[in-house]
């Protein structure tokens, strides 16, 4: 196990990076390390964690903005927001438990560096959509900022968003500033049972195409539904298609009523309120149905209507179990163990339907052997290499984590 250093200040981090760049020594960059199991494994002599840089540095609830040092636990951020009746708009998923790590450990910097958004993404946008500004240190050890602390800002290139989803390979964020939103007064869940994947996608697209601001649309085929912790939705022994409606109390009733009318042709629409509803969406944020397993796990983004087709096509090559989020467009797919975790077949299917697939959980050997992140088209790959060279010419920041030769 290489040494882990936790710089407490930007200058300290900067000098570490300058030193590493001069020696050409690779550095593994982490927050709390809760997502370390994702991506290709690295052999770095040094691990740098941002967890020494903690604290909320700005919070203006009436301006919907918060800043925090990158190592601040996301749980602390969410607790502070909850105390003022607000929340992160994009409901980040906690992938830790599905990878065998404890829950609730991730840092706020890593939330943005990995851009892993949860169920609300389909309505509210991704983590990257709410990132307003960053301070960061690139692979040259230079400290820079981009964006700011106001909601509307087009001054210069949007470098902050460019760092979102780059998994620490372009720079190390030291402080992030992001938009927050009010927490809804009420949450209700409408559920239909026993739908096929195709019908479920149709129902979810129909619901998201209404004016009733559905803020979550998930489908769990029977096998996955049986893994739920919420008894009300698990015990029917059938596939569960669930829609979330959030707003002021009286609005939720009206909107649920309208949606039930609209969806009546698809079958009985049950409504769950209060703790049951919150528990259901809460466990999905923890990816409860994917915990405890060790089979390879893929995260696939495609269009909602293509979702069931992708699963069915991959299913012709191997036995799969899927859980659909984002109206059917985000697929969490468990596949049998194999030398390439099904990568060849899955990527062939994706090429046909559009989208991208990331291998989220697999043995370290498999992750070293296959492309964990979606291989890029030649034009995009050229730009990707150019950006990597611009930010990190010595190639020391998380080398190989996203792509073998990058």
């Amino acid at each position: 196990m290489p040494a882990t250093v936790r710089p407490a200040a930007e200058w300290e981090l900067s000098s570490l990076i300058v030193d590493a760049a001069e020696r050409g020594k690779p550095v593994e960059v982490i927050g709390a390390g809760s997502k370390r199991g994702i991506g290709r494994a690295m052999q770095a002599a040094l691990i740098i964690s941002t967890s020494g840089m903690r604290g909320i540095t700005l919070y203006e609830p009436t301006e919907l903005v918060m800043s925090a040092l990158a190592g601040t636990p996301a749980a602390d951020v969410e607790a502070e927001l909850a105390a003022r009746g607000q929340m992160l708009p994009f409901e980040p998923v906690d992938v830790g438990p599905a990878l065998g790590a404890p829950s609730g450990r991730g840092s706020i910097g890593a939330v943005f560096a990995t851009n892993l958004s949860g169920a609300r993404r389909v309505a509210a946008g991704a983590a990257r959509d709410h990132l307003l500004g960053v301070r960061a240190i690139n692979g040259r050890g230079e400290t820079f900022k981009s964006g700011g602390r106001v909601l509307k800002n087009v001054t210069g290139y949007d470098v902050a968003r460019g760092l979102a989803g780059s998994w620490g390979t372009l720079g190390i964020m030291t402080e992030v500033t992001f938009k927050v939103v009010p927490r809804p007064e009420r949450t209700a869940t409408l559920a239909l049972l026993g739908l096929t994947d195709e019908l479920a996608a149709e129902v979810m697209c129909e619901a998201l195409g209404t004016p009733f601001e559905v803020s979550g649309a998930v489908h769990l085929p029977r096998g996955m539904a049986g893994r739920l912790a919420t008894p009300a939705l698990r015990d029917a022994g059938q596939a569960v298609t669930a829609l979330r409606v959030e707003n002021l109390e009286s609005f939720v009733s009206y909107r649920c009523g309208k949606l039930r009318e609209r969806l009546a042709p698809y079958g009985e629409v049950q409504r769950f309120d209060g703790d049951v509803s919150l528990a259901f969406w809460g466990e999905l944020r923890q990816l409860s149905v994917l915990q405890g397993g060790t089979k390879p796990l893929w995260r696939i983004s495609t269009t909602p209507t293509a979702g069931p087709k992708v699963v069915s096509a991959v299913g012709r090559y191997m036995a799969v179990e899927a859980f659909y989020d984002w109206s059917g467009g985000l697929i969490w797919l468990e596949v049998p163990d194999s030398a390439d975790a099904g990568a060849t077949d899955i990527r062939r299917v994706i090429a046909q339907h559009g989208g991208h697939a990331t291998l989220v959980r697999a043995d370290i050997g498999v992750r070293a052997a296959v492309d964990v992140f979606q291989p890029l088209d030649p034009g995009v790959e050229r730009l990707t290499r150019g950006l990597k060279a611009a930010f990190d010419p010595a190639g020391i920041l998380n080398p190989g984590r996203m792509y073998a030769s990058l």
């Binding site: 230079e142 509307k152 149709e202 697209c205 004016p211 992140f373 990707t384």
Partner: protein, 482 residues
Amino acid sequence: MSSIPLPEPSPDVLARRATIIADLTALAGADAVISDEDGRRAFETDALTAYRRMPLAVVLPRTTEGVSAVLRYCHANAVKVVARGAGTSLCGGALPAEDAVVVGVSKMSRVLAVDYANRAATVETGITNLAISAAVGPDGFFYAPDPSSQLACTLAGNLGMNSGGAHCLKYGVTTNNILGVKMVMMDGEIVEIGGAHLDSPGYDLLGLIVGSEGQLGIVTEATVRILRAAEHARPMLLGFESSEAAGACVSAIIGSGIIPVAIEYMDKPAIEVCEAFAKAGYPRDVEALLIVEVEGSESEIDDLLGRLVEMAKPFKPKTVKVSGSPAESARIWKGRKSAFGAIGRISEYYCMDGTIPLKQLPSVLTRIAEICGGHGLKVANIFHAGDGNLHPLILYDANDPSESDKAELAGAEILKLCVEVGGCLTGEHGVGIEKRDLMRHQFSDTDLLVQMRIKSVFDPDWLLNPAKVFPLAAQAAFGEAA
């Protein structure tokens, strides 16, 4: 208004003009190339009309491949290119150069595909902003970003500037509503990024491209997010005796957990002019007016507006007026959306676009009045209050050259003030030439270096939209170091 320096054109390129035009004509067809003086004059400026430069030539291709062929030629022959949508930029973002070819996308304006189930539409980027909503409107959908120029401005320009609008408090700006693009690189390569699915694999190239002011490539097609429109929408007017009261009321509303779809602020001079023009029913006896719009069913709207009226009471509004009909709502928005045009009827003005933290509003408005007063100029203020985007309109006499120079000076002082109080130089209009040399007030040398290196990745020879965004001295230093 002429103090912004522009580089001297390259004599070498000017000397090759006839050859370049002949080559472009052979490449793109005579009907796509404009080379005569009268024709080119229509492209010599954008909405920052004080600055004019006759382009070397104008090419209006009809296909992505056509754009690719032109860029490949220009790249091979070291000719600069200025991309153009409708030319509505307020910051000189589309200003041509004498030694540059303007490549416009205005003849590429088709809707290519609409996919309601997946809530996406693929369009050519020469389409106007409003035409996207018009194409999906009959089916109850819309494209959310709504800049005031939406009748004329193109999606291409919106992508370049990451345009916003009055309703982005709820729906976000351009970058939040783009799923994929087809882009032509300066060397002619056609790159596709993203698609109809959510989130791109790898680096967030879309994030870098949107808002890059036409300096990284020319986007010819885009897949945009379309949204189902709310059942109904209704605005109300809240008039206050001071900017402090209006600003505090906005804070109270947002802090309460209700996010209206728009909160627009107008000061007294802006109210006067807009009311005279649009007869919107704005109160003339208040110092500050808020237009607050909410969406939902009719009963939800009644409920929300009732709550907002209660919330406003502690700030002693002089006017509380809920729109009574769709016609009245339309008039209220017409007044606001035609503000720039209405003020333009009474005076020349210089439109600024800073963003400030909301709670700084009263002190910033006081300082703006002092700055403009110090130059002997009047100012009207329009403010997207929900997201802090401030548009001071500095009025000046176009017949007096010294007045327009003063307006430019006052504008620069106002933008520096926005940065000082924690905001930024531009919220939705872009940097262009206008704010190029103010960038140092917001960014350090390293901040700018990081951005300029990105430019070099996409356009190593710096041929696309030259002399914009980055201070000329910084560009020169970067070029020497490279």
